[in-house]
Subunit: 344 residues, 3 copies
């Protein structure tokens, strides 16, 4: 399956400059050959345009003159490249059909064109939308609804009563709807709080490998349309994540926190419970968020990395920064300098 | 199944004030209807008592006069609510029986009333206690013992020789008894240290989804009665966790560390190896514990989150805090101020 | 199966001092009995040599005179002990054979001596090397190659096209080859970038329980020979990890980062994307690496843990460290002290 550059340009709104060749694959600048198309979005890769063996390139207007290769000029080369990749390499889907080993409760409703793989189990009262794929070893509990065109990769677990929209992708080992972490102290140990809510996931959501999303304690954990969760993420009970928010790998969100729409969270960020995070907040990697954030913007709490020697010299002062600040204040008093108010 | 408020009050040691109505469900203040019972433990939610449509409420003595709803007055409303939730919504358990697809070694001993789901495998020499549930896709290795009234959710893996007490709950994808991380350097690469110990878990323990607990290298990894582990936790080999200690999501505990009883660890805390943590220690979220803690109390090591601009301005000084402290000392000398000893 | 101390000494290059007894097991100093062999590598455990009931001990030359027990003297007691453990307790491997429940595509090539457990599925075009074990519930996708003498523990998922060398161990729940986290913003939501690369793993690699390794977006994610990955690790798309590098539990490595050979990463370290980490770099636990590291050495970024009171007093100054540094500079100016340049 090949496409003319003019077909790609027309489909994705770009301008073709140069010869209208056919391309077959997307590739990196280094690995590309004459039937491959590449992209350059960042000027720092522009010099590689001189050496790539690619047949064509997707660039923005600023880089259009930086190469003599056939090129498609678009405002957002990365997005155009992604769409071209999807066009040239449409994702494979297993053929419709139900593997004879699958164990499906009698009243389960399976839409047309579903693929149910080997050793899948589906509990009573569940409904699977048309063309949805359940790969081998998936566990779908009772009363689950999964929309059309979904994709559950192998060994995914979807617990009872979870509601999932259309076109949702769950990567291998993801667990949706496990019990939240609810414990009341009863004097001599913990009493388990029953977790009675559900997980409700919108359309076009993607959930990474080994990511876990807990059901609500009372009420639901809700993941809105278009949310992207990377691998190894933990979402606590009754969390709400607004539409099109993206969380990178290893993020943790504790219970009852509400995260707005269009947010991004870097890897290993940790968000404490019962907080409110506004729309369009960007949390950088490794940041612990311990209070609500009311205003859009970028927030950080990263401890800088150093050589071990430098860290030893510097970090020891952190344990008595208050004393150091006190000494500074005392010195200011002594020198007759106007003492700055150091309380916020 | 409904209960009179007087039945609930009698069962859980509360005082009923107001009409003795029947309740059917627990609910949140916002979602409750007339046959629902809610709770208010924190005075900050007291004003919602005026607007809730709940039929009844569980409160403490301080809030007993804050509402005219039928109410149960108890010292710990959260605990009473949890127990009421458990009474009104007893957790569903799958019916006893062995799914024909299960693969069970000949000498396995299954207690009465067990449920063994589809595609479960159980290795030779294992014993499963009465009424224990093994949901679909669970992998029980050889020589495993699981006590009575346990619950293994789907796709749990319990490796060879693991010993588990009564009433233990393992959430989906949990892995118990995988090899610890033991490697000896042999000049040109790593030599794998055989992991010969076991995991031994007491009674009434709960282990979260995708949490992993490694077997001992020599000797055992031990989790005492009543411990609560949330999702995505990693417990290294030969770790010991004392009774009723609770770890929130994404915590890591490195090998051979001993954690006392009645401790709590916030999300994403990381505890290094070969440490001793006393009883009744509370570690706050995101804290890295790099040395033993001998004394009960609350410990923190969180880097505060800021806007990106403020962080850039402030964090750069961390890289040369030692120089800053040196300048302060020099200035103190110059001004004739008694120089504070800044070595601990 | 027992061995004479002289046999062990000869095999692993040690010198035997004392009686040539037979030993049957390895053990800890505390738990050992007369047919057990123990080791002491660290002088701080030397005093336990006086009280252990072990039959023999492995020590280095410095400790050879510290005990009268029969002893094997070697340069690296830990390594010799590991090898002895492996000799006395050879890891059990399930017998060759294919469980009748396994679902194996017709064209799959299985080497001699393979074990394929219950409910395993293997996709079309895959090749499994001789003597490799696939335990119950493993999911091997299409076009996968796994080398000889490998070991996939239960419920491992290996996605399509993954290439794995010889003697590779994948612990339970590991996921190899899931889609990377690639999303392009398209104005009103995220467009999923097709993940077209593979995961390529060398020989003698070990991957921990619930660890996830994403396939490349374009080009491959590559894990070189001898790499050791602990549990709960996330490796992003197009990451490269050089030979014999070891990552402890809960580490995250974001996309396109290249890590050199012979590195070590402590638990919960987080490495951002598109970085270059040189050979022989040691990153301590909990450290966030946000820039490339060009030079071998040890690097840290740990915020020190304190009591809650001390932390409250000290951490508040971090939010205005820039103001504090400014006040110091002003004071230096006033006192007539040569102002130090505080810009790096």
């Amino acid at each position: 399956m090949t496409y003319l550059l003019s077909e790609i340009a027309a489909r994705f709104g770009g301008e073709l400059i140069g010869e209208d060749i056919r391309v077959e694959r997307v590739a990196t600048l280094e690995a590309a050959g004459p039937s491959d198309i590449v992209f350059v979005g960042d000027p720092k890769y522009a010099k590689q345009l001189a050496t790539t063996a690619a047949g064509a390139v997707i660039v923005n207007a600023a880089l259009a003159a930086a190469t003599s290769l056939p090129r498609i000029v678009v405002p957002n080369p990365y997005l155009c490249f992604a769409r071209t990749a999807n066009l040239l390499h449409p994702p494979a889907r297993p053929a419709p059909g139900i593997h004879p080993s699958a164990v499906i409760a009698e009243d389960v409703v399976l839409g047309e064109g579903c693929h149910v793989g080997a050793f899948v189990s589906i509990g009573a009262g569940s409904r699977i939308g048309a063309n949805t794929v359940l790969e081998a070893g998936c566990r779908i509990g009772t009363g689950v609804a999964i929309g059309a065109d979904g994709y559950c990769h192998p060994n995914v677990v979807v617990c009872a009563d979870t509601q999932i929209g259309a076109r949702v992708i769950l990567h291998p080992g993801a667990v949706i709807g496990s019990d939240g972490f609810g414990n009341a102290w009863q004097g001599d140990g913990w009493f388990k709080i029953p977790q009675l809510g559900r997980v409700v996931i919108g359309d076009d959501v993607e959930v990474g490998a080994s990511t876990t999303i807990d059901r609500g304690a009372l009420g639901d954990t809700t993941i809105e349309d278009g949310v992207r969760l990377d691998n190894q993420i933990q979402i606590g009970h009754n969390v709400h994540i607004g539409k099109h928010t993206a969380l990178a790998g290893c993020v943790g969100v504790a219970g009852s926190t509400r995260i707005g729409a269009y947010c991004t969270f870097g890897g290993s960020a940790m968000i404490l419970g019962h907080l409110d995070i506004a729309d369009r907040v960007n949390i950088m990697a490794g940041t612990l968020v311990g209070k609500s954030i009311k205003k859009a913007g970028t927030y950080v709490g990263q401890y800088p990395v150093q050589t071990h020697e430098d860290w030893l010299a510097n970090a020891s002062h952190l344990r008595r920064l208050d004393a150091l600040a006190g000494r500074l204040k005392e010195l200011e008093r002594k020198v007759g300098h106007a003492v700055t108010d150091d309380k916020e």
